[in-house]
């Protein structure tokens, strides 16, 4: 999408300002379309036959620079690509790098099922939601069609995650594909040797296909061949070298491909990209070293344009930083960093429940809220407006002080809810406990420095001894 002004979109809308899209005017809707905050489907009238011409032009105009490809079916379908910018501050990135973890067909069945389940169920709470993993790659190590098919079947039974079938052998690939073609898996991969068979498979089973070649002319050639044959759901793998100059060159290939796609609008090559950080395991023997290096490669290509990647380590020390980085890079930089001030109820608090205080920085708020909620502590959480700063920065910068606390108590009539007139301050705000007592006349307790420690603190410090 290359649009300077909403007017360029508005031209093609019905122009009736009917309001069905939820906006007052077509122009207002056009500007939301431009920022990709609404989608074309929201304007129902546009799909009337008389607007067909306009609709098709708009579809064209609004198509993202990088093609969007869907892998999998159902609730956990993953969308990759669909990006419009090279740097997140220019708009935002849309479809997060899909983290795909591997299993292989020589695993014993019990182990296989455990691993699949672990990948499927993994989650970590972060800023108000659970982070999860995106897909499972099934590698044919055996190179035997039946072994592969059995493995694929077993994985499919165990998970609803999208699947990536990995084998360069078209016969093996087809046996696997047969068992799960209704799951819209990605087949990995067509290359300079097997492309013709892979093309037939992709066509026959109507599934997305990855194209592999570190030679970008060849990769381009494969892409054009496939798209000309009507296969547009392509994912490109320009090769991920794990170390040395090979890594440097891989980096350059990813950047150049994306630059061609977005910067130069070269549609022939504007497909999602796939990186394979698990190549680290081929050069490093020690498992910890390999998992670290794999995370390093993942980091590099999360930032530089991989739309999906295949990884091996499912140790928590790998998953947590990898998935957190994806979450960070793919958050919308236009999103507000703060939540509303006020009084929240966690669980089913009574007038005797503790009243915790925190700031309105989203990260702080959600962290504290989930720490309390997941430990089932019925309580009140008072959120103070600190201009979206976390506790320590807000104390240091003066945004969290006795006066704002008093104002918050008054304006939200917090005294009516809690009886004990006691506030629990974050440990990092200990400095302002005295002045807060003076300003509010309430009792002030200092909690732990990290809200994760509130449960332990409750055991020793709540209810307060001098409570009446």
């Amino acid at each position: 999408m290359r649009i300077g002004s909403p007017m360029e979109i508005w031209e093609y809308l019905p122009g009736t300002n009917c309001g069905e899209c939820g906006e007052k005017t077509c122009l207002a809707y056009a500007s939301l379309l431009k920022d990709r905050k609404k989608s074309l489907e929201d304007c129902k009238p546009l799909f009337e036959p008389k607007y067909a011409d306009k609709a098709s032009k708009l579809m064209d105009l609004l198509a993202p620079e990088v093609r969007e490809v869907k892998i999998g079916v159902g609730a956990r379908t993953m969308k990759i690509g669909g990006e419009d910018v090279l740097y997140r501050h220019e708009l935002t990135f849309f479809n997060r790098t899909a983290l795909t973890y591997d299993v292989w067909d020589t695993m014993d069945e019990a182990e296989l099922r455990v691993r699949v389940k672990e990948i499927t169920d993994w989650r970590k709470f972060y800023v108000g939601e659970f982070l999860t993993l995106d897909a499972i790659a099934i590698r044919s190590v055996s190179d035997d069609a039946n072994t592969f098919a059995t493995c694929v079947k077993c994985v499919a039974e165990e998970t609803d995650l999208p699947l990536v079938l990995c084998s360069f052998n078209a016969e093996v690939q087809e046996e696997g594909l047969k068992t799960v073609s209704d799951r819209n898996p990605l087949i990995y991969a067509a290359d300079k040797d097997n492309w013709s068979e892979m093309l037939s498979l992709a066509k026959r089973y109507k599934v997305p296909v990855a194209l592999f070649s570190p030679d970008l002319n060849m990769l381009n050639s494969l892409a054009v061949t496939f798209s000309s044959a009507g296969i547009q759901d392509l994912v490109l793998d320009p090769g991920t070298y794990p170390t040395g100059n090979g890594l440097r060159d891989s980096f350059s290939r990813f950047v150049q491909l994306r630059r061609a796609g977005i910067g130069e609008q070269d549609k022939q090559i504007a497909y999602p990209l796939i990186a394979v950080p698990m190549t680290a395991w081929q050069v490093l023997e020690d498992a910890l070293e390999a998992s670290y290096w794999e995370a390093v490669i993942a980091d590099t290509f999360i930032l530089r344009y991989a739309d999906m990647m295949i990884l091996h380590s499912i140790e928590p020390h790998s998953l947590i930083p990898e998935r957190t980085l994806v979450a960070n890079i793919y958050t919308d930089p236009r999103r507000p960093v703060s939540v509303d001030a006020g009084l929240r109820e966690v669980g089913n608090p009574t007038a005797e429940s503790p009243l915790f205080l925190t700031t309105n920085f989203a990260l702080t708020y959600y962290t504290v809220e989930s720490d309390i909620a997941s430990n089932k502590i019925d309580s009140y959480l008072m959120v103070v407006d600190t201009d979206g700063l976390g506790v320590e920065a807000a104390v240091a910068g003066g945004q969290l002080n006795a006066n704002v606390i008093k104002e918050t108590i008054d304006s939200h009539e917090i005294g009516k809810k809690v009886k004990n007139e006691t506030i629990v301050l974050p440990g990092l705000a200990a400095r302002i406990s005295g002045e807060t007592e003076d300003a509010t006349g309430w009792t002030v307790l200092v909690g732990p420095r990290d809200s994760g420690r509130i449960p332990g603190w409750m055991e020793t410090s709540w209810p307060p001894e001098n409570a009446s």
Binding site: K124, F125, R139, S200, N217, A223, I269, T300, E315
Partner: protein, 437 residues
Amino acid sequence: MPKEITLADIMDILEEYEVIELEDVSIEGEIELEISSDGAVPTSLIQILQSMLGVVDKQIEATLSTRSSLIQILQPAQLPQLSAGETKVQSLVPAKFEVAKAEWNGQIEEVTLGATSSDGGTRGNVVTIGGEKALPFYNFDNQMPHPPVISVDCFDMPIPLAKAVRGYYDDVMEDPGEWAKKNVQEFGADMVTIHLISTDPMINDTSAKEAAKTVEEVLQAVKVPIVIGGSGNPDKDPAVLEAAAEVAEGERCLIASANLNMDYERIAKAAQDYGHVILSWTQLDINAQKTLNRYLFKLGVPREDIVIDPTTAALGYGLDYAYTNIERMRIAALKGDSDLAFPISCGITNAWGAREAWMKDSPIREDSDWGPAAYRGPLFEIVTGLTLGIAGGDLFMMMHPKAAKTVKRVTQMLFGAKTDDDKAIGLADWVKWRPEK
């Protein structure tokens, strides 16, 4: 030989794909087809239509209309010899991949830290950063002149450290000189940062004079260039950094830092009077960074004596802000904004503020197991460092030896330094890679 097809054949195909309407069919003009279907437009249909109409050079537009999507397809010029009935594509369409170089007007200032005896100092070597004419590691646009540099932190007093880090420094915590030495000799630090945190009135309120002695100790203990950091207390830092700059005269240390909410003028003057480089530090705010830099220019600080610190926030705790802030500054500088065209320093040690880096278990019950903290912590530091390196960081202040080593190794590779790391592997061999038990 293409097979002849009749109108009836076409009707069959159209019916099979539930083509409802065929309108505006004109051999000269555009052809519009409305097809109602849930899947993609089948290639065979396109091929047949194409051969039927005998057009290879004309634009065919097939617009597929469904409730949820309209898809545009087909560039006939690119079609390989498609003919009716033939489904197997025989040969690859030749193509050449081409992409232009990015041209930038700006260049990042080149800044040298440390001074050897020939320049009036006592350092064994100097370290030069900056000078970029392209984004980090975009060597295909313009070779990066210097790889990023790592300065390992030490402190003027024992400090609480995450367990995973503490073990490395337990024996040197009481002695900043020994600490600095260890950083260089054992951990391969390019530089050492001495943080004079005990000078904070809220901590030990160590005098500026005492602090200066610590700086002397460190300078004697190591031969690498050093960074001198205050406590971050805006009232005390000017005096502390002034005294430190004086005892380090001529060594071209990096003085950390000048900040808008303090008497930066005094720090800038001390740095200039005693021959040092100044670190201009702001909090995730491009305009504040421009403002502070302009103040420094006004005070007569030469451009080659400025490094900037736009603030580092940890992975999961604001790294997105830090990343984008640095990336934006670097792009603005390359586009020609000379207020921002300076090497960037990042306090990567901040990564240990993330609780995932040090906390034993997740406080959230529904979380999957967090595994041993000892493995998580270094990776939080590594990811924070590498991420900001790719955004535009030139100098990383770090803490965990393994993290420092890893960030150094990967940035050297991306930079293109000679490494003996090019193990030959088949790039697609991972598909058949068999993990050891």
